[in-house]
């Protein structure tokens, strides 16, 4: 109970918001973007924050999920759920085959390789216009139904996205607090020491790469059905960078750090619209100030401070008890 207290509070807020404000623009419109971005940031954080393996191509898997749904339902007439399954299969195979050779690389080289992956997939979306519809994309996806219940309003989509996001957060929290999660952090901390503790580091990295790609893929399918439309620009290199920024802003290696980072980065542009031409300028300045003063990330910095104070108090208690 105590372990997941934060999660329960977070779930409660997420699910109550649309009930209290069903017609609020920030809940049912901006909220959808926030929810999908949180899922993506949390999945990327598994790879980047926990295992310490940077990826500048996460948007590629998000895009592959979206395009699989669009292509298999519209061009080939499969049902939405069959299309999602095909998408998962494709992303599983692609990420699994690529994971071992790519994750042998470290640091800048890994960044380059994943960057290349993102760009190649994006070029495919733009250029293979017979399959992908080219720069114009594909529109007119069928309505997604869950257990025969059609998801046809923004409010219903909010709950679908929220549920998916909460499951992602829960899985991530579970992993962080387990043998598998510690193996990831160990790979991050010292690969050599991790191996000496019996961890097959190549396998651990490959598994989490595939896992995080699959989450991004499902997010892509849901996104495509909700938008009713896919086009290459949603899945460009810039979106991959945005996801990395979310994870770093909130704090690497913390699930709620990724949540906070994704929330801020998705909502800030909306709030800054009032500044009109200066919007981007102020946005950049805020990011810089946060990173200069809280380099560990917003959420993680606050969490560490609390943990430090708690230890100080414990030390005092021990000192008092012994004197």
């Amino acid at each position: 109970m105590k372990r997941l207290l934060g999660f329960y509070i977070f779930s409660f807020i997420t699910l109550v918001l649309p009930i209290l404000f069903p017609d609020n623009y920030y809940v049912t419109v901006v909220g959808l973007t926030v929810l999908i971005n949180i899922s993506l940031a949390v999945s990327l954080n598994l790879l980047m924050g926990y295992a310490g393996q940077i990826s500048l191509g996460h948007a590629a898997f998000f895009g592959l999920g979206a395009y699989s749904s669009a292509i298999f339902t519209i061009k080939y007439g499969f049902s939405p759920w069959t299309a999602i399954t095909f998408g998962l299969l494709i992303v599983f195979l692609l990420s699994y085959i690529l994971s071992r050779p790519i994750l042998k690389l470290k640091g800048h080289y890994l960044a380059m390789a994943t960057l290349g992956l993102g760009i190649i997939v994006h070029i495919f979306f733009v250029q293979a216009d017979e399959i992908t519809g080219g720069p114009d994309g594909i529109s007119g996806l069928p309505t997604l139904s869950i257990f025969g219940f059609p998801i046809d309003t923004d409010l219903k989509w909010y709950f679908v996205f929220a549920l998916f996001m909460l499951i992602t957060v829960l899985l991530s929290l579970n992993i962080a607090d387990s043998r598998a999660g510690r193996a990831l952090s160990a790979v991050h901390g010292s690969e050599i020491a991790a191996q000496m503790m019996g961890i097959d580091t190549a396998k651990v990295k490959s598994r989490i790469f595939v896992f995080s790609a699959l989450i991004a893929c499902i997010a892509g399918s849901l996104f495509a059905h909700q938008q009713n439309f896919v086009s290459p620009e949603s899945f460009s290199f810039f979106f991959s960078i945005e996801l990395v920024t979310m994870v770093v802003l909130g704090g690497l290696g913390s699930t709620f750090g990724a949540v906070v980072g994704a929330f801020i980065l998705s909502i800030l542009p909306e709030l800054l619209i009032v500044f009109e031409d200066f919007e981007v300028l102020i946005f950049g300045a805020i990011l810089m100030v946060i990173m200069i003063f809280l380099p560990e990330g917003l959420f993680v910095a606050i969490k560490n401070k609390i943990a430090y104070l708690a230890f100080k108090r414990y030390q005092k208690e021990v000192a008092n008890a012994t004197s």
Partner: protein, 252 residues
């Protein structure tokens, strides 16, 4: 019957021979020390034993099994663990989590079981935490268990590496300069700790520069010089060996 047997081991980096035709065996239950001047090849030898470096020639047997070509994580699974000369603590975790990683081989839940937190995972988590706390207690670190590793002083981190290695319940523990950078009191504590490790049934292979410590606790000492075996035997014989004295003090 030796626990570890090294036969004709050789390692060269380009033209430089770091280890030349080295053969020795480590009996079970001993504190076996390797000494030698700086650059003699001691750490290289540890890296060869754990296959972080691949030997150019020769073979290594652990418990009669050829481990020369096994990857490090499989060597660990057979029961060899080690500490590092330059600390390799997981600075992104707290103390008890560091040691829980040491229990990796004694537990088994995978990524998917962990993600869905199956009942088996919950039971295992508790077991692993207890094992880790036990190892911390053994090394006198229980007080620090919830502290982030990055906040701790050097001496504590050195002990933390030992606790982490012990948590895997190895049969052979390689310790690379555990006393380096410690003060006299800490070195004395370390002495007792290493003996306690040996008494718990773990064979200890020790690389160390502190001669007082080596001569006090070792059963066998092996002297390396320029990657070659110079002498091997009980501490008393080694201290009197003229070749060893020459290597350390220079020939007069």
């Amino acid at each position: 019957m030796p626990l570890l047997e090294v036969k004709g081991l050789e390692k060269s980096f380009g033209g430089l021979k770091a280890i030349t035709d080295l053969s020795f065996s480590v009996p079970e239950g001993q504190i076996f020390s390797i000494i030698g001047p700086n650059g003699a090849g001691k750490t290289t030898l540890f890296n060869l034993l754990t296959n972080i470096y691949r030997p150019t020639k020769g073979s290594i047997f652990f418990n009669k099994k050829d481990i020369t070509k096994l990857p490090p994580f499989k060597i660990a699974a057979l029961g060899i663990s080690r500490t590092f000369q330059n600390l390799q603590v997981f600075m992104n975790m707290n103390v008890v989590e560091n040691v829980m990683v040491g229990c990796h081989l004694r537990s088994k839940s995978g990524l998917f079981a962990s993600a869905f937190r199956l009942p088996s995972v919950i039971a295992e988590e508790k077991r692993v935490r207890d094992m880790a706390l036990e190892a911390l207690e053994f090394c006198g670190l229980k007080y620090y268990s919830s502290q982030p590793a990055s906040a701790l002083p050097y001496g504590i981190l050195k002990k933390l590496e030992i606790a982490r290695a012990l948590a895997s319940k190895p049969r052979l523990l390689l310790m690379d300069e555990p006393a380096a950078g410690l003060n006299d009191t800490e070195t004395m504590e370390l002495c007792r700790l290493i003996e306690a490790i040996r008494d718990s049934g773990i064979t200890v292979l020790l690389v160390e520069h502190n001669m007082g410590l080596v001569m006090e606790i070792s059963q066998t000492v092996l002297v390396l010089n320029y990657g070659r075996l110079l002498a091997t035997g009980p501490p008393r014989d080694i201290q009197k060996n003229p070749e060893v004295i020459a290597a350390y003090l220079g020939e007069g």
